[in-house]
Amino acid sequence: DVKVTQSSRYLVKRTGEKVFLECVQDMDHENMFWYRQDPGLGLRLIYFSYDVKMKEKGDIPEGYSVSREKKERFSLILESASTNQTSMYLCASSTNYEQYFGPGTRLTVT
């Protein structure tokens, strides 16, 4: 069974704080993704990575950065959190056409 885990289910941060969201997958997948989900907007891709140390911008990368130092781990970084980054963040991994998602992190920025 594929397992994608995310470091926190719920997180509350203050405006201006640096925020790290961690994602780990245990199936040796090459590709990993970070999305945010907002009502009425569906899942929007922030960044993805197809290999260690490789990253590609998705549709909404502004205000975010990522790090992939190991194949199983993909981190999303909010350098200076803002209230408009309050959202559900979903990590996923895939090795072919099918993506497997983590449980999500509900981030609230106050």
């Binding site: 569906g42 998705g58 056409y97």
Partner: protein, 112 residues
């Protein structure tokens, strides 16, 4: 610009009846299409997929139909059960399989 669209934000169906969820796309290079189901406070889970070389794929109560000329796909659930109540996302990707495009989701409510 949204390349995958789900124009119905919500759908209510009686238990035992058929649920039909629709999805349209604009990119003719999409090679593979997927449906995901999402419960509140959980990540999406893969439900069923279809390759662009097929027009139908069936898995138990779930069937996906693909009409390439209309750039349209649909998910049929029959018979619908209360446990099917969730948000359903349609997704598509090209042959590289490393970038997925999601629709905005349809919230399905199955009424007992």
């Amino acid at each position: 610009d949204q390349q995958v669209k789900q124009n119905s934000p919500s759908l209510s169906v009686q238990e035992g009846r058929i649920s039909i969820l629709n999805c349209d796309y604009t990119n003719s290079m999409f090679d593979y299409f997927l449906w995901y189901k999402k419960y509140p406070a959980e990540g999406p889970t893969f439900l069923i997929s279809i390759s662009s070389i097929k027009d139908k794929n069936e898995d138990g109560r779930f069937t996906v139909f693909l009409n390439k000329s209309a750039k349209h796909l649909s998910l049929h659930i029959v018979p619908s059960q209360p446990g099917d109540s969730a948000v359903y996302f349609c997704a598509a990707c090209t042959h590289t399989g490393n970038q997925f495009y999601f629709g905005t989701g349809t919230s399905l409510t199955v009424i007992p």
